[in-house]
């Protein structure tokens, strides 16, 4: 029995925009988010948007940055993707009502078991690692004008049982919330 039949369409597309790398320069003037202090290791997550004013239907770029504010290196799963079973969650709240906006476009990168320790990076003390996530406002449920608060969460998807002997920042280390960023959306 065949339950899915495929029809393929391919086309050239839009520029690649998911970029991983050190983005320390973007931290200038940014308010830090929540800090986790797990023993000697301290990590903070920060959120920066590409703009503060948007129009309905605009794209938005979210820069999610992890800063090692401890004096020792931290080993992180290098692939930063959005999803509850991945590394990052993004939530949007309507500032006027204070209500969380339910998401019907659910970011859902799924993380397979890492095949080797090569998937981890060593984030040195006082260094920054991050990802630029591009989306549309509509994907976050922002479809009318108003002011919105955005927050990002970082959570490692990798359990400590798959650390390959490295002292990784693992799923057991919990969730870190970023600073809140307020944006205005107009017509």
């Amino acid at each position: 029995m065949k339950i899915i039949s495929l029809q393929w369409f391919t086309s050239r597309a839009l520029r690649a925009s998911m970029c991983l790398g050190l983005l320390a320069v973007l931290l200038m003037g940014t308010t830090f988010g929540q800090t986790a202090n797990n023993g000697q290791r301290r990590l903070v997550v920060s959120l920066i948007t590409d703009r503060s004013i948007y129009k309905i239907g605009d794209e938005i770029t979210l820069n999610v940055l992890l800063t090692n504010i401890s004096s020792t290196p931290i080993n992180l799963y290098s692939y930063l993707a959005p999803g509850e079973s991945a590394s990052i969650s993004v939530w949007v709240k309507d500032e006027a009502s204070g209500r969380d906006i339910p998401q019907t476009v659910i970011a859902d990168s799924i993380t397979p078991p890492p095949p080797s320790k090569d998937v981890f990076i060593k984030l040195l003390a006082k260094h920054v690692y991050g990802v630029a996530l591009k989306s549309t406002l509509a994907n976050f449920g922002v479809e009318k004008q108003g002011r919105y608060e955005i927050i990002a969460e970082y959570h490692s998807p990798i359990p400590s049982s798959i650390s390959f002997g490295l002292p990784i920042w693992s799923a057991e280390d919990g969730t870190l919330s970023s600073n809140r960023v307020t944006i205005a959306v107009g017509n």
């Binding site: 899915i4 509850e84 859902d108 397979p112 078991p113 919990g174």
Partner: protein, 151 residues
């Protein structure tokens, strides 16, 4: 099911296409072993898109399942795991139809339920014990997921 791939690099597009083809073929090859109710849930995915810039997501209103190239090509992503991923996201559509909202409060439960569901077809698709373990012990099992992301 329509599948649309957008990306700049032909080689990447071909690799992604091959992997999605393989995952769909795996689902179809095991269709007779799946519970008919599970087949109905998998049918919630109405279209697949893959792109090299927009993250992976399921649109629970339309059944569009988008895959980011780097998710498909992630080291460790097996055909069985990708097939299970399709089932996982198909279940999010079922949750939406049942009236569940994906909010910070509900998201951990949303994900746990989809993981729990996907293990059933995933076993049939041939997930390894390590892969099943990762799905079964997702991060929400390690700490209280009832949190306020706005401290």
């Amino acid at each position: 099911m329509p599948v649309t791939i957008t990306g700049e690099e032909a080689d990447e597009r071909n690799q992604v296409r091959a992997r999605i083809d393989a995952a769909i073929a795996l689902i179809n090859a095991h269709a007779d072993q799946l519970d008919p109710a599970d087949v109905n849930i998998i049918h919630n995915v109405k279209s697949i898109t893959a792109s090299d810039w927009l993250y992976s997501f399921i649109d629970v209103r339309t059944g569009r399942f988008n895959l980011l190239f780097s998710d498909v090509l992630n080291p460790g992503m097996s055909t069985a795991f990708l097939a299970t991923d399709i089932a996982h996201d198909a279940y999010h559509v079922t949750q939406h139809r049942r009236g569940m909202e994906n909010t910070p409060e509900n998201a951990p439960l949303y994900e746990r339920q989809a993981n729990a569901f996907s293990m059933r077809p995933g076993k049939i698709f041939g997930l390894t014990p390590d892969e099943l373990n990762v799905i079964n012990s997702d991060r929400h099992t390690f700490y209280n997921p009832s949190h306020d992301p706005y401290p």
